[in-house]
Subunit: 249 residues, 2 copies
């Protein structure tokens, strides 16, 4: 059974989010490896439909930490990367080549988002293997107008994912990775089947039991904290703004 | 400089798309490792906002190969996985807990897509480390109505990514991985800056020179084949259909 365990799989398993970093800088050489790992990721038609913004300016990090739901640790992260879905560079190339082209649509945004996310996850994996911790910040999709201004994003450039990266503190290394759902609730054969109430209660046992809470209590608290939060509503408002760029005819 | 090269980074670099597979089956044990690697991926608030459909039915594979722009190799791939963005299971849990909740919006779809893509890329990386080849099929986002019917997708379940996986043929192993853009054209510091015509011409030299084509020729042929193709237009139509589910008030 040796073949079923290897260094790569171990690293994927061990990786957990890190939000607190030591003062150790991330060297330019290491950053180059991270970028190269992004570039090596699968990409639709070899188009690399993304641009990576490497946020090195301290004031800009601070501004982003406010815009991303006031998460102070973003401002002090050694590396802050934003993976922008970027179909625009191809449209610019089409125009440079003298072509008329159809207006971009939501499908073009989605395939670019795919590329950006896939590339970002290669960075997470490469970082882990180099002893670096990372955390995704989904909140970068919020506050469209202010984020656009801060990052000088033209129309159609969508900040699909943000990563903060650095060397983890001992406390972060000691933190237990949160348990995932049992696999039976994640994988389905051939077709989708909606989970029954009973199955959902069973599925959430990994959260409710350790917390000593009933299903109703645990779910209500989570729903209030996440789904019904201001940042969650803001995400939809903001994403719809970005989508508007892909609806111009 | 030893630390800058390791098994994980080598594997990320070596990985290339594989579309032709040997007859060798992928064992149940290996599939479990792939699923576990997906589950270990970063996920927003530990929600695992995705469901993986493991397509084992031969007829269904064949149907999907037609629906995904008639790519016959999909039908004969040993493993076909569809990563569905799935906010629905959480909404179902909220309702099971007796909660009223706000309607889901585009932001909820996007954060679920992020989760699905991030998980899928862990599968790609795990597969590579086990000697398996893989290929993303973005076309799964097309033909909303027929794909929904084939996979029994309820409203709000969005097939964000499809992967075909198997053991590569020797011919596929020998294939050269397509060159990526020079890093200077992919990474920008702090803010986005639109590429000039001159920069775009320079950026595409890695494609135009080996092809012995002018920038105009190469770009025009690519644009016609990809961006102005039927499947590309269909992707936007179909994605807008899926988005409609997230606009019900």
């Amino acid at each position: 059974m040796d073949v079923l365990s290897n260094e790569v799989i171990d690293q994927l398993k061990e990786r957990k989010s890190v939000r607190v970093f030591t003062d150790q800088e991330v060297s330019a050489e290491v950053k180059q490896i991270l970028f190269a790992s992004a570039a090596e990721a699968p990409t639709a038609g070899n188009q690399q439909l993304y641009t990576i913004l490497d946020i090195t300016d301290g004031e800009l990090k601070k501004r982003l930490s406010v815009l991303c739901d006031n998460q102070a640790f973003i401002a002090s992260a050694p590396v802050v990367l934003i993976f922008c879905a970027d179909m625009l560079k191809w449209l610019d190339a089409y125009r440079e080549a003298g072509l008329d082209h159809r207006p971009a649509g939501a499908g073009d945004l989605f395939i670019s988002m795919d590329d950006a996310l896939i590339a970002s996850q290669n960075v997470v994996t490469a970082a882990q293997s180099l002893g670096l911790g990372s955390c995704y910040i989904g909140d970068i999709m919020e506050n469209c107008e202010a984020v656009r201004e801060a990052l000088c994003l033209p129309e159609m450039i969508f900040p699909a994912a943000m990563l903060v990266i650095g060397y983890p503190t001992q406390q972060q290394l000691n933190r237990t990775k949160p348990a995932r759902f049992p696999m039976d609730f994640i994988v389905m054969e051939n077709t989708y089947r909606r989970r029954t109430g009973e199955e959902l209660r069973e599925m959430f046992r990994k959260d409710t039991e350790p917390a000593g809470k009933s299903f109703e209590e645990w779910i209500a608290a989570f729903c209030k904290r996440k789904y019904e939060s201001g940042f969650s509503r803001e995400m939809t408002r903001s994403v719809e703004k970005y989508l508007d760029d892909y609806r111009r005819k």
